[in-house]
């Protein structure tokens, strides 16, 4: 501490230690917030059409188009350490071969508390196709709205905000839109 340089050295070392303690405290403070908000999710219609895959035009398959309504108030999840919420709607079903599938068909990033009050009338953003290319004989699916809370400092946490109350059937495929 006898010269300016050694004082700067000393202060910067103590500064980095205190900063790390502060960040650890902020990360731990997230554990105190245990909000678990729930909402409603309704799937209004599911339609299945035969179509071509965009990349390989010879590859035919069945594509599902889902329309849904979401109402949820996720603002309790926003605390001082919440950077953003990543919401995603997934369809969960076991296909005819017995394989468990979870397909994300819609997502949204929520950055502000005011935007966390959801009232969405939407349709699937992403292609929903069955990997074995046919939806025939597939048992009914369960749709759920899940979220991933991303903090400024700390661990990522996950949760489920809404799910369909009754399983949703897959209708038979139609050749083209009427």
């Amino acid at each position: 501490m006898h010269t300016v340089y050694s004082r700067i050295n000393n202060v910067s070392a103590t500064l980095s230690t205190s900063l790390m303690v502060l960040l650890a405290a902020i990360a731990c403070s997230s554990l105190l917030f245990t909000a678990d908000p729930k909402g409603t999710l309704d799937v209004t219609s599911v339609k299945i059409f035969n179509g071509d895959s965009r990349r390989y035009s010879h590859r035919r398959g069945e594509y599902a188009f889902v329309n849904f309504n979401i109402t949820a108030d996720l603002s309790p999840l926003f605390n001082w350490n919440t950077k953003q919420l990543f919401l995603y709607l997934q369809a969960e079903y076991t296909n005819a071969q017995g394989v468990q599938n979870e397909v994300v068909i819609w997502d949204r990033i929520v950055r502000r508390k005011d935007d966390a009050v959801l009232k969405v009338v939407g349709k699937n953003k992403y292609t929903f196709r069955e990997y074995s290319s046919k939806f025939k004989d597939v048992p009914p699916a369960r749709y759920s709205l899940k979220y991933n809370l991303m903090p400024y400092v700390g661990l990522l946490t996950y949760g489920e905000a809404a799910q369909t109350t009754a399983p949703v059937q897959f209708p038979s495929a139609k050749e083209r839109v009427e």
């Binding site: 300016v4 004082r7 202060v11 205190s18 001082w80």
Partner: protein
């Protein structure tokens, strides 16, 4: 001329001053971390936390880095030079 610039850049302080500086840095950081966390947590705002922390660090740097006169109030008392006997 270069020796006075060198002295200026070195910024020496005496031992008592060094003890005070070390004490000030440690207490200041402990208090600053606690205060900025508590205030930010109650106001639920990270900007408050880091704003207070940054301000505190700036003040501390001003208080500790330059060789202020109070840090030089106890200079080392050197013993008087002794005559060496030439054999």
């Amino acid at each position: 001329m270069s020796s006075s610039i060198q002295q200026l850049l070195e910024g020496k302080i005496d031992f008592e001053g060094q003890k005070s500086v070390e004490r000030i840095t440690h207490y200041a950081f402990a208090v600053l971390t606690a205060v900025s966390f508590v205030l930010g947590f109650t106001l639920q705002s990270l900007s408050v936390t880091f704003g207070i922390f940054g301000l505190g660090v700036a003040l501390l740097l001003v208080a500790v880095i330059p060789p202020w006169p109070p840090y030089n109030k106890h200079p080392v008392q050197w013993l008087p030079a002794r005559e060496t006997k030439k054999e």
